[in-house]
Each structure stands twice: as C-alpha cells, then as structure tokens.
C-alpha cells in the first residue's frame, strides 16, 4: 500500500468540506478523482501534500504516519504536487526552477529534454523567467516538468486542465496520455475531462465531501449518465 487516508475530516466556516474520507492507493497506478465543483477534491489532495491540515484523521504513506509532517518532509518521502495555478517567480528562470525540482545538478540538456517531453520547444524556454510573460498553458507545462523531475512515488495533479484554453488543453492531454512513461510511481489526478478519466486505472467520484463511487471510468461515467437521465426524467414528471 502506498497511501492510506483514514477518516479524514475537514471543516471551514461551518461547512463540512470532507466527511470521513477513507482511501487506499496502490503503487504504480494512475488514479483520477472527479466530481462536481465544491465537492472537496482540491482540499483532499492538498491534505495529502500537507498544504492543508485535516481536523481529524490520519495519513499513512508507505506505512508511516505523515499526518503531522510539513510539506517539504512529505516531498522528501516521495510526494509530488502540480498546482492548479502554477506559481510565478520574478528572477527565477525555468532552468533554475527545474534544477530546484530535480534536487540535484542537472545539465541544461537534461532540463531541455524534460521540457520537450511536456511539449515545450525547450531552447526558447529554458532561460526565460517563470513570470507573467509566460502564458497559462506554458506555465502549466513547466509545472508538469517540475513534478516529472521529482520522480516521486506519488505525483498529484490538481486539475491540470483548469484555466487553459481548449486548444492548449488538447495538446496538453497528449502529455497526460504519455504520463505513464514520463512519471514512475502512482499518479493521482483531479480532472473533469473524459479523455483523462479514460486513461486512468481507476476513477474516484467525490460528491459533497464524500467518496461516493470508485471504479473504471466506463462504469463511473455510465452510472453518472444514467443518474442524470433519471434526474431529468423525474423533473419532467
């Protein structure tokens, strides 16, 4: 077992965002989390990374209780996180950031190789600053490159399609389709995109802070379609 969440609860402003989440993730899996807006998906993955602290419950990573560990200690144990909104840094170049991500000396060529894998024309980007001059799609790819370089045992993507246009996303999705080769270990990705759900080994459906279903993307999507039809039919009556 790679990761185990035991009875995770999280409440803010008198709203229960996560209600007794229990979840187990195996090694070498590609797992997608989906569900409506406000269902607690982002909060859940932030709790795994340590960005948010649960009110109760335990997080076990490779048999070790990491509930009280800070973000950087979790990173060192092998958890990586790609942000929904990539962070910008004035003065720090793409190459600087990739070196920091790798945690060891990497050559410019190695940095360029990773950038190429995430679909960026490397030479144009490696010396640019990670600032507002880069587009949303470019920043997303750089963000993905940083987690690829971490070679984490568990890599989390918090809704990578958020905030980028359809055209950029169509290109980006190919990166995710190749993700199994790019990223070793387990991938946990929040997504609403059918193409991403289809490449997942398993899909976890989260609603109102609870895991309501878990299975293949086909099963989950079919059930949801049936539910929607039922809802519509009921409304018509």
């Amino acid at each position: 077992m790679l990761l185990e969440l035991q009875d995770i609860c999280f409440e803010r402003d008198n709203k229960k965002i996560l209600k007794n989440i229990n979840l187990e993730l195996d090694i070498e899996k590609f797992i997608a989390i989906t569900g409506p807006n406000g269902s607690g998906k982002s909060t859940l993955v932030k709790i795994i990374m340590g960005i948010e602290k649960p009110d109760s419950g335990k997080i076990i990573f490779e048999g070790k209780d990491i509930t009280n560990l800070p973000i950087n200690e979790r990173a060192k144990l092998g958890i990586g996180f790609a942000f929904q909104q990539p962070v910008k840094f004035k003065g720090i170049t793409v190459y600087d950031l990739l070196k920091m991500a790798a945690g060891k000396k990497i050559t410019k060529k190695e940095a360029c190789d990773v950038l190429s894998k995430v679909g960026l024309c490397a030479k144009e980007y490696v010396d640019r600053e990670v600032n507002g001059s880069l587009s949303g799609g470019e920043l997303k790819r750089i963000e993905i490159a940083t987690v690829v370089l971490r070679e984490s045992k568990l890599t989390i993507f918090d809704e990578p399609e958020a905030g980028i246009d359809l055209w950029s996303f169509n290109n980006l999705i190919e990166v995710f389709e190749n993700m199994r080769e790019l990223i070793k270990g387990t991938t946990l990705i929040i997504s609403h995109q059918e193409r991403i759900l289809n490449i997942a080994d398993e899909v976890i459906l989260l609603k109102s802070g609870q895991i309501v279903d878990r299975g293949s993307s086909k099963d989950i999507l079919e059930k949801e379609m049936v539910n929607k039809k039922c809802c519509k039919a009921n409304k018509c009556k």
Partner: protein, 309 residues
C-alpha cells in the same frame, strides 16, 4: 598584483569586481584615498585630476570591446574618501566599465566613500557600466557609500548600467541622473538588499530631451529586519520618447520601503510608464518550493536569491 595589495584587499576586489588577478584592459585601483595601481592602453588613457581628487578616463573613438576596471577599496576606519571620476567616451566606442567600492571596517569609526562618476558619451558610443558595492568587517563603525552617477548621452549613444549592493553597507544615498539626446537609450538595473538597521535611498532623475530617446529603470530590492529603503524616480519626457520604470520590493520583518514614482510628460508624444510593487514573499511561492523539498527558510532564501540575481 603588487605588494600594496594584501589578502583583505584581494577579497574586497573580488567581491566588487571579480578581480583576483590583474585585469585585461585599462585599470585604476584606488585604496584608502590614493591611486595605487594603474594601467593604460592604446585606446584608454587614465589621467589624475589636478584640481580635485579623482581621475579622467578617455576612450578613443571606435574603440571596440575594451574593459576598464576602476575599483575602490577602503580598509582604513574613519576615512572619508570623496572622488570625482569623469569618463569621456569617443564616437562609436564600445566599452565595458567595471567600478565598485568595497569597505572593510573592523573598527568603530565610520568609513565613507562618495564616488561621483560622470559619463560623457559621444555620438554612437555604447557603454556597459557595472557597479558593485560591498561592506564587511567586525567593527561598529558604519560603512557608508553615496555614489552619484551622471550620464550624458549624445545622439545615437546608449548606456546600460547595472548597480548592485547586496551586503554590508550601512547607509547609502545613490543618485543617478541621465540627460538623453535623440535616438539614445539608457537602461538601469539596480539591485539592493538591506538588513539590520541599514538605510538605502535611490534617486533617479532622467530627462528625455531628444526624439526617440528611451529609458528603462528597474529596481529590485529586498529589505529585511529594521532596514529602510526609499526609491525615488523622476522621469521627464520632453520629446517623442519612451520610458518604463519599475520598482519591485520584497519586505520582511519590520522593514520599510517607500516608492515614489514621478513621471512628467512635457510632450504629447512622450509615453511614460511606471510600475511599483511592494510586498512580502507570496505564501504560494514558499509552498511551491516546499513541495520541491525546501524548508520554509530555504525556500525564502531561494526566492530572494532569484529575485536579486
């Protein structure tokens, strides 16, 4: 280098001008108020002023890609060194000038260096001017640096100035003035870091007098502890001209940063932009670097190092 230069001097020279050995090109090394080493070349002549302390540097026209080093070091506590250096850059010459001042003060008296540098660029000349300021020493005597830089750009000339003060200077007031004729470009990049009780004030005063003149002033600073920084930028667009000035500051602890932009358009075709952003390090930046394995303190340091790079 000669025996007049000891190990402390070498360290200071290295900090301000990356000089460990005798540099290529012309140079003039000033220590404790006296010129101690000088070299001139076929294209660059250095002459001691007779009416006041300082030197005149003459660069022949069409000189291409020569280096000129003029470092100043002060190791004597209590010394107040005032120096006037004038640079006359001939037509179409292209040179890199490295200046800077390093103060080592182990005692309790204040040490001060006020360098007044004037640059006169003839038509088509290009200068890259790099200036570093650095202070060190265990004494409680203050290390004070007040540089004044005046830049006069004739038609078609351009100057790029990089000024850096990262460590150990207790008090500084730096004034930079530019007078630009037509088709000229003046680019200034300033990086300052203050800590403890340090004080730094920067004043830019640029007059865009000729058509198609442009100025880009960028200041990046970090103020920590109880230090104070003031950034004043005055830009006058007196012709069809363009300017962009930008003050970006990170504050920590109880530090104070004030930015006062002033842009005056005296011509309908003057296009003048100013941006100022002051704030602490964004929490999300620290979080991102923590997900890459850095502790909070290490993340902060990486962000500052990148910002001031």
């Amino acid at each position: 280098m000669s025996e007049k230069i000891n190990d402390i001097d070498k360290d200071l020279l290295n900090e301000i001008s990356d000089l460990e050995n005798i540099p290529n090109g012309a140079y003039n090394i000033r220590k404790n108020g006296q010129g101690i080493e000088r070299k001139v070349t076929d294209n660059v002549n250095i002459v001691t002023k007779t009416d006041k302390p300082g030197i005149d540097i003459y660069v022949k026209e069409n000189t291409k890609f020569e280096f000129i080093h003029i470092p100043v070091i002060i190791t004597e506590s209590g010394l107040n060194d005032l120096v006037y250096n004038d640079f006359y850059i001939g037509k179409n010459a292209n040179v890199i000038i490295v200046a800077g001042c390093g103060i080592h003060n182990d005692h309790h008296k204040d040490s001060q260096h006020d360098g007044i540098h004037r640059f006169f660029l003839e038509e088509g000349a290009k200068v890259k001017y790099i200036e570093k300021h650095y202070g060190e020493g265990k004494g409680d005597g203050k290390r004070i640096l007040n540089p004044v830089t005046e830049v006069y750009l004739k038609a078609g000339s351009s100057m790029e100035m990089e000024s850096t003060q990262i460590k150990g200077v207790d008090s500084t007031i730096r004034e930079t003035k530019g007078i630009l004729e037509e088709n000229t470009n003046f680019v200034v990049t300033e990086k300052i870091m203050t800590h403890g009780e340090q004080f730094a004030k920067t004043i830019f005063d640029v007059e865009l007098n000729g058509d198609n003149s442009s100025a880009h002033v960028t200041s990046r600073s970090v103020a920590t502890n109880n230090s104070k920084q003031y950034f004043v930028s005055k830009i006058y667009g007196n012709a069809k001209s363009f300017s962009h000035s930008e003050c970006d500051a990170i504050i920590k602890d109880n530090a104070i940063v004030t930015a006062t932009p002033e842009v005056t358009a005296n011509n309908v075709d003057a296009n003048l932009i100013h941006e100022a952003a002051i704030g602490k390090i964004a929490g999300e930046q620290i979080t991102k670097l923590m997900t890459l394995g850095f502790s909070e303190e290490e993340a902060e340091q990486e962000i500052i190092n990148g910002f001031l790079k």
